[in-house]
């Protein structure tokens, strides 16, 4: 049997039993209605805030101008002045939402919500307390931000690196997540795409490849860990040591250059990766208590260069920016 036939048969065998449910049409239409409903709700909430915002100003003006006659009005002034009207940020870009809430004197906590195929990533889908409610100054407002199963459509498009994350790209900068990556093997281009907090909080990751295209695989991937994520890396490294990996030295710091297996933290061996399978090489070390770095080389790219030597060169040349 040749490979094409084997492949066709494999594909067929995998899905021969699969049938779309007859209820699919109903499910699609329900999804469509939910989507419409969400947009309408967001619109209604905006109107409500507009009203909530104008009322206190009007009452304040009248109270300053002439003495209050009706006790109900007096009360209204008192109630509204006691707190902040929570602005509506549903449907807005998460960053803008944060600015709006902070400007109103509130604190913001954002969480990533469930996958949504209807919204682009980074849009606020709900907030608590809701818009129009009263809150004490400095109160916390939790916003749920959309992640998107269509993120790939977005990831497919080049992303622009926000200045606080670095200056890679056309300008020829080499800073990413507070680290200056001074050296990379010749011919590698930055892939204009990055991930934040995908590998634990706080982590930032980006990659370089020969084509520099977001649609191709990575050649070298870099993950910069800060905050809590640094502890995870320390533990992972201790585990490498226990499993018998020999540490190496990167600018006076203990580092491990290993092939990793499964589950995370386990070194590759013949049980968790059959021999002959490609193994990605990973160089890991803790730079300081607030910074750990992992540099990963894809098996494909590793074949073309001296993988370990290049990984060490990248690590020895880089400098934390702070």
């Amino acid at each position: 049997m040749n490979a094409e036939e084997a492949l066709k048969e494999t594909l067929l065998a995998q899905v021969a039993e699969v049938q779309a449910s007859p209820a699919l049409g109903g499910a699609v239409r329900r999804r469509h209605r939910r989507r419409l409903a969400r947009f309408r709700t967001a619109g209604a909430a905006l109107v409500m805030v507009a009203v909530a915002g104008t009322v206190p100003a009007y009452l304040t003006m009248t109270s300053a101008g002439e003495p209050m006659s009706s006790p109900t009005e007096r009360e209204a002034v008192a109630t509204i002045r006691s707190g902040i009207v929570v602005p509506d940020v549903v449907g807005r870009d998460a960053k803008v939402a944060g600015q709006v809430l902070k400007a109103a004197g509130l604190n913001v906590q954002s969480r990533v919500g469930p996958l949504s195929s209807d919204l682009p990533a980074g849009i606020v889908v709900s907030q608590n307390p809701p818009a129009g409610g009263d809150a004490e100054p400095g109160a916390k407002v939790t916003v749920i931000v959309s992640s998107s199963s269509e993120a790939g459509l977005k990831v497919n498009k080049p992303q622009k690196l926000p200045p606080e994350l670095g200056d890679l790209g056309d300008e020829g900068g080499h800073r990413f997540a507070g680290v200056d990556f001074v050296y990379f093997p010749e011919g590698l281009k930055w892939v204009p795409s990055f991930d934040s907090d995908t590998f634990g909080k706080t982590s930032n990751s980006t990659s370089w490849s020969e084509s520099g295209k977001v649609t191709d695989g990575y050649g070298i991937q870099v993950i910069v860990y800060g905050g809590k994520a640094v502890e995870q890396i320390s533990e992972r490294m201790a585990g490498y040591g226990k499993q018998g990996a020999e540490p190496i030295d990167i600018r006076g710091k203990k580092a491990y250059l290993v092939s990793v297996g499964e589950p995370p933290g386990e070194l590759a061996n013949d049980k968790n990766i059959p021999s002959g399978e490609p193994r990605a090489r990973v160089l890991t070390w803790v730079e300081n208590p607030g910074l750990a770095i992992e540099i990963l080389m894809s098996p494909d790219y590793a074949k073309k260069i001296d993988a370990d030597a290049e990984l060490k060169k990248i690590a020895n040349a880089l400098r934390p920016a702070r």
Binding site: A27, N156, L296
Partner: protein, 166 residues
């Protein structure tokens, strides 16, 4: 949307949804449940624009939406897996007494996302090299090279299995 649009959409689903679902499963190696969710999302988009696209090859449009969504899901999983696991989970099959198909499917899941997509579109959807290139927004040459590299991996895995069984 008119009644006629609605019934045409139902006809479209009846004839195409199983194929779309199968393609989605093959592209991202997802469970049927996850793939259904993905396909529903894609079809909602088709439904949204149905009156406009129904006369203009809705099948190609739907396939493109499904393929894009599946590639992105697969790619995202792949990045995480490659970093943390170095290889996808549940593929640690011992080389002995395995079903050849299962081993090949596992190998397929390990291919780079777009390479796998090229193989699925060429050998499952039976698209031509030209059609595949148009759908994936790349050159015909890139389709050719990805397909031949992907097949080479499959071939390699086949021969290593045959070696192990001997």
């Amino acid at each position: 949307m008119t009644d006629e649009d609605e019934s045409a959409f139902d006809e479209f689903l009846a004839s195409r949804s199983t194929a779309l679902l199968r393609t989605a499963i093959l592209l991202c190696g997802a469970s049927q449940h996850d793939a259904e969710d993905l396909v529903q999302g894609a079809l909602e988009k088709v439904y949204r624009h149905w009156p406009r696209i129904r006369h203009d090859n809705p099948q190609a449009y739907a396939r493109r939406v499904v393929v894009n969504a599946a590639i992105s899901v697969a790619r995202r999983r792949k990045v995480i897996q490659e970093i943390t696991f170095a290889r996808p989970p549940d593929t640690a099959v011992p080389p002995f007494d395995v079903d050849l198909r299962e081993a090949l499917f596992a190998e397929l899941q390990r291919l780079p996302t777009r390479m796998r997509a090229v193989l699925v579109l060429r050998y499952w959807e039976d698209l031509s090299e030209n059609e595949t290139a148009t759908l994936m927004g790349c050159s015909v040459g890139s389709v050719k090279s990805q397909a031949s590299r992907g097949l080479a991996r499959i071939r390699e895995r086949m021969s290593s299995l045959e070696g192990a069984l001997r």
